[in-house]
């Protein structure tokens, strides 16, 4: 069930604003979607390789430059499709669980 959910949430977060991994981790940890941070990096790389994300380097005051990720147009489209599927899914689940 987790499959795909993490990607959906990440895309959702990045659609609102540019973020660098530590920000994303903060958000995900808050919602308890990930337990260890290691999981995130291969995932981001995969989404980037798939053309859904792109990043830019930004200088940091407190250290080395950071990678800021943002959705691409393809990413936006994909997110829309995902949202639709997600809503359908949520609706279906609600319907079946509240019947009786």
């Amino acid at each position: 069930m987790r499959k795909g959910v993490l990607e959906f949430v990440i895309l959702q977060l990045l659609s609102q604003k540019e973020m660098y991994p530590s920000d994303i981790i903060g958000e995900l940890k808050e919602s308890k979607l990930i337990v260890v941070e290691g999981t995130l990096y291969p995932l981001l790389t995969r989404l980037k390789n798939a053309g859904l994300l792109h990043y830019r380097w930004e200088e940091s005051k407190s250290g080395p430059p950071r990678k800021y990720y943002k959705l691409t147009e393809l990413g936006e489209q994909f997110l829309n499709e995902l949202s639709q599927t997600w809503n359908e899914l949520v609706h279906a689940v609600k319907q079946t669980t509240t019947k009786d």
Binding site: K3, G4, E7, P21, S22, I25, V35, V36, E37, G38, T39, Y41, P42, L43, L44, T45, R46, N49, S62, G63, P64, P65, R66, K67
Partner: protein
């Protein structure tokens, strides 16, 4: 106080304690291994390093400037174990890792094992995959080589096809163990040298990551580079095998030497035995002076012969079992004991020499009761007594060693320790009667002792009709010392009377002078008349002139080989 190392993580410098560094290094290596072959591996890892450097930066302040083990543990806790890095959605991971994560059984893969290899590690790698003992497969390969000759071909093909397990993760996969940080660290700790090799491999891998696609070519290069390694290893194995064989030989030689020595000294039939065949130990007792001398002597022999045997044995053991180590003083200790043995032998020998320094002899007149009418005396040996003995060679200066189980009528046969040879010669008698004398000699610590030792000799002779029979041997009985006893009989023959030497007298006659200088064995079976000049043969075919001619012939034969032939001819003419 702890040593720290400066490291660059994600573009930042950190001071990190050694143990913390070791842990972090191991962790990053495990992660790298889990991304082995992933096309974005480098990118992902640099992202991870960036994040780790951020986490470290958060843990550093003015008052705490060094990363310690605790920080590394905490960061690892945040980042997760290498399995957590695996992205289940990623196709590249699907193949290798999904069933590893979901199932309890972990996929095994065939690799060549670089840690336990004789040639290229094919057998040990396959064995690890099959869960066998590598020895079994190696034996199969050797046997198939000997039986059909296909072993090396199959081996080379397998060596080319099967990749070498380079990383710890691959080595774990080879054994079918799950690739987890725990396992990797366990494996890495197993051999420090293995870890160093891995680190080396690591650098190479990153450098040539672009070429990795061309794995077949690399594989061949791998095999060739392994070839010289293998050659060296085979030579090493050969040397080890030779050393082992040599060790076995030395071991056996030493062991046999020790066993032979011990049994000859202490065994049933030994020199020191009190239960085995009595004759041997009594012979020894009679030769040596007293028990203390005997102990001295045999401790000496035991050390002088035993130490070299023991050294061979120890050397053999050392060659056979590499873990056996002797103290460096061992050769010195052995040498000291050996010299002690030499010293004991010398002391014993000195004692023996002292006991033999004097020589004495005395003459006994024997009265042969012969009828006055006897003109020709027949001399014979009493051979029936010793018919069982036919000694080919003499033992200790013309004497022979007595063998048990023979009955001698005139001696206590069960107590005989030594048998010596009697000798008889013929001389001209002053009167007109046959006379017999015996001259006995022996050695001892003093003249008196020597005479006492000489008196210990027992022998027998008898007169029957016109024949004198002399026993060919004298004996020494238990309790007497063997001290070079000798018995020389003299038969005095009056002028005008004769002696016939019966063939049986061969054993006793010795240096009988005669006018024709005939050798003892040529005198046998003939009758010899005592003349003014000495004994003269009366039954021989050749006489006088014939003998002289013989002498001339002999002289010619003694001319030197390089004598010129012409001269020789001239000489003959003259």
């Amino acid at each position: 106080m702890n040593k720290t190392i400066n490291v660059n993580i994600g573009g930042r410098i950190f001071s990190i304690e050694e143990d913390a560094y070791a842990k972090l290094e191991k962790y990053l290596r495990a992660i790298r291994n889990s991304f082995e072959g992933h096309q974005s591996a480098d990118e992902i890892i640099s992202d991870i390093e960036l994040r780790i450097s951020e986490l470290f930066a958060e843990r550093i302040s003015e008052s705490k400037q060094v990363i310690i083990l605790f920080d590394v543990d905490a960061v690892i806790g945040i980042m997760g174990s290498p399995e957590d890095y695996i992205d289940p959605e990623d196709d590249e991971f699907e193949e290798e890792f999904t069933h590893k994560r979901t199932g309890r059984t972990y996929e095994k893969r065939v690799f060549r094992d670089p840690d336990d290899k004789l040639l290229f590690g094919v057998c040990s790698g396959l064995s690890a995959y099959l869960g066998w003992d590598p020895l079994v497969l190696r034996a199969i390969f050797v046997i198939s080589t000997l039986a059909w000759g296909v072993g090396p071909i199959i081996y080379i093909i397998l060596a080319l096809i099967i990749p070498k397990a380079k990383t710890t993760a691959e080595k774990l996969q080879m054994r079918g163990e799950p690739v987890t940080v725990d396992n990797i660290s366990k494996k890495v700790n197993e051999s420090f040298s293995g870890m160093k090799e891995d680190i080396k491999d690591f650098g190479n891998r990153n450098k040539f990551s672009g070429e990795r696609a061309n794995s077949a070519g690399k594989q061949i290069g791998d095999v060739i580079s392994d070839f010289f390694d293998a050659l060296g290893r085979v030579l090493k194995v050969l040397i080890v095998v030779l050393a082992k064989i040599f060790g076995v030989v030395l071991f056996m030689a030493g062991l046999l030497g020790l066993v032979a020595l011990i049994t000859s000294l202490f065994g049933m039939d030994s020199f020191l035995s009190s239960t085995g065949s009595r004759e041997v130990s009594e012979f020894v007792n009679s030769t040596l002076t007293d028990p203390s001398n005997r102990n001295l002597f045999f401790s000496g022999i035991a050390l002088v012969l035993g130490i070299p045997a023991l050294s061979l044995l120890l050397l053999g053991i050392r060659l056979l079992f590499r873990q056996v180590r002797y103290t460096g003083y061992l050769p010195i200790i052995l040498l000291i004991f050996w010299f002690v043995g030499i010293g004991l032998l010398a002391a014993g020998g000195a004692h023996l020499v002292k006991d033999r320094r004097a020589q004495a002899e005395f003459t006994e007149s024997l009265k042969p009761n012969l009828a006055a009418s006897v003109d020709t005396l027949v001399l014979d040996a009493e051979s029936s007594e010793f018919s069982r003995f036919r000694f080919s060679g003499d033992f200790m200066d013309g004497s022979v060693f007595f063998e048990g189980g023979v009955t001698i009528p005139w001696a206590d046969s069960t107590n005989v320790v030594y048998v010596g040879k009697n000798r008889i010669t013929i001389k001209q008698a002053a009167g007109d009667q046959f006379l017999l004398e015996v001259e006995k000699s022996a050695r001892g610590s003093s003249q008196k002792d020597a005479i006492r030792n000489a008196r210990q000799m027992k022998s027998n002779w008898s007169i029957a009709g016109d024949s004198l029979r002399l026993s060919p041997y004298f004996v020494l009985e238990t309790g007497s010392k063997i001290r070079g006893q000798e018995a020389r009989y003299h038969l005095f023959v009056p002028i005008g009377k004769a002696v016939h030497l019966a063939p049986g007298s061969e054993d006793i006659i010795y240096n009988i002078p005669n006018v024709t200088n005939t050798y003892d064995w040529d005198m046998l079976g003939k009758t010899w008349l005592m003349t003014e000049n000495g004994l003269k043969c009366t039954t021989c075919q050749y006489e006088g002139k014939a003998d002289e001619e013989d002498e001339i012939d002999t002289r010619e034969e003694y001319q030197p080989d390089n004598y010129p032939e012409e001269y020789e001819e001239e000489n003959e003419v003259i």
